[in-house]
Amino acid sequence: MVKLFGAFLILISGSSIGWICGSIYLNRVRELKELQLALNILDTEISYGRTLLPEALKTTLDVLSPSLAKIFCDAADELNRSKNHHFFELWEDIIEYNSKKTYLRREVFEILINWGRQIGASTLDNQIKINKLTIKRLEQNEQIATDIAIRRVKPVRYAGILISLMVIILFY
């Protein structure tokens, strides 16, 4: 009875680990989608509403999951607090601080850092171009992440189950 219960526990744990590892790929795709939506909202705020950057950043929070929302929320709060700083100075620090709390890869943060270097610092036409270009680059990254997810999610999840079954066979 105890053996059976132990085997069941190993199976559940192994499957869960496989499930979680597989979810990383799916969460990455989801976060990339959220970022694109957030930048689209921000672009609308900038181009139609001429909304100031701190308020524009806050309008994106509803469509972002907590870890990404924190980046945009911190940036807006810091902008309001530290009036003596350029946006890019604050943005880079906030990105670096929060990057490990998301599922995104380094190259996505490089895209966001580049975006931050130009946002708010030029005319409306330029801002729209910069936003469109950044959204395009995120879209490409999303495509790559989706391809990877299609290739890896199932094998990783199955691997979790198979490895746990292998452990059960070895032990018992």
Partner: protein, 314 residues
Amino acid sequence: MSIKALNSVLEYLPLNISKIVRQQESGRNGEIIEIRLRVNQPLQLISFNDEQFILERGSPFIVTKDDLERAFMILSKNSLYAIERQLAEGYLTITGGHRVGFTGQAVIEGGILKTIKNINSLNYRITRELIGVAQKVIKKIYNLEYDLYYNTLIIAPPLCGKTSLLRDIIRLISDGDPKNQIKGKKVAVVDERSEIAGAYNGVAQNKIGSRTDLLDNCPKAEGIMLLIRSMSPEVIGVDEIGGDRDVEAIQEAVNSGVSLITTVHGRDLKTIVSRPSIKKLIDIRAFERYIVLSKRKGIGTIEKILDVNGKEVV
């Protein structure tokens, strides 16, 4: 100048410069009316009686390109795209109605100034709220018999207190003047540059009276027409007229029976007549009172008040 006014301007300066201005302010002869930043030049403070380049440890405090960029970034709140219209006009209005003028490299498209880039000079002009100055003129611009205000033009060169007087006249007309037994009237203000009311997010920061409706950040000509149609004002206050469209709107306002109080740049009646658009208004006797200001005895010195025929009002 109140400390509050200076403090609100200092918030729009880089930290190193606001610190040094604050230090200088305490020991100065007279109020600071302008703070000037020019790339690679000493920081300059101008007061009514005096002007000086600021020293730091014995040598001039030189404003760097980074200082200027930082100052402009603070002014635009990291949102340059939001101030494109102002970029083409060469000035920004900040909280409290203070104006910041700037120069740099002009970008021309189709013969029109589209924007100014590579800003090389900033001039922070501190607005003064001179409450009570209108008391000296209110009786002379008021027609007791008909209980209405004369159409009035305030004439003065820059920095002589035109807008401050206009603001206080608006306040007094709106609130009424119990001393002279004048009741308050409905006033509408078109504040194209947010200088009269010093509005922030559309809400007046300066005292403009309890019967005053404010149309902030709106071109004068459109604003005057809109207010006449929608707010049934008895008096309209507007600053710095000059363009042909302004003149047309003023004619419309005068003909509709609304009293108009406005200002124009100039030394006296003779000099403004040389401006064709203003001459047109004078020729049709649109204004019944002219208030000429100077800074001979301090900002807002009333030199004379003239009637429609150019004779001094006693």
